[in-house]
Symmetry: C2
């Protein structure tokens, strides 16, 4: 069994990842351009993928090809992740946060300013990492349900 840390280690090149996932390098870069994934970047701008990245990509593939959800659909789904509850940002921050107030793309695709997320590396953020498994969004929504 792999530790969480091991799963996050960026070890596969883009072509290795492409082979493992049976897709093309182009497709991987497209998913990144769309904001579905954030591979590790070397200084040379070359990408590296972790096992967690591959797991996430399998969910994305499944959503697109089996569940027939469009890429924009997936982006919108990601925009529903209750990030504010995960990172516990302040009411004031929420008021000014596009990710809190809009619903078209994932929080990690915004250029956040004047809030906690500005200093965060989204690839390492729990909001991003928690959603590597399929069905995690609904799980999160269930878990934030307030007690009455």
């Amino acid at each position: 069994m792999l530790s969480t840390k091991d799963k996050q280690q960026p070890i596969f090149s883009i072509s290795q990842a492409a082979v493992l996932l049976h897709i093309s390098v182009h497709t991987l870069r497209m998913y990144e351009r769309e904001g579905l994934i954030i591979p590790f970047q070397k200084k040379s701008k070359h990408r590296l993928y972790s096992k967690a990245d591959l797991e996430r990509l399998e969910c994305i593939r499944n959503a697109i090809n089996k569940m027939k959800i469009s890429i924009n659909g997936i982006k919108t789904m990601y925009s529903l992740i209750p990030c504010w509850d995960i990172i516990e940002c302040s009411i004031e921050e929420r008021k000014n946060c596009k990710s809190y107030n809009e619903h078209s793309k994932p929080c990690w695709t915004y250029a956040h300013q004047n809030n906690t997320c500005q200093k965060r590396n989204c690839r390492e953020c729990e909001v991003y990492q928690k959603n590597a498994q399929c069905g995690q969004i609904k799980e999160l929504i269930r878990s934030i349900t307030r007690v009455k």
Copy 2:
């Protein structure tokens, strides 16, 4: 200003609705088959649409044609509506409810058994009606956030 009740009155035939929305009758029936809408049904099986239905359909159209979210994407989004929190069903009911546990289609498309929803008319249910406006799902997710 129309009252909520007025907006819910089923008054438009399918062809009238189609003209008002600039779409074909076929498309309206397709959205229904997919579980995106529940028009009122006369005993003769003829459909009638309310102003609220038209509003909902405009959101659906916008999602498909402007936001480029696929129909299956919209169904998945609807599956994230925190219905359990809106109707306040019991923990026991949640345990056995497909809508609570799965994430592929809206709660109103399940043939619910042995729970509160069995006796409900989904078209009249708050869960369905609350989601007539675009962006309502995120609004609901924000609103159920538990206090820490």
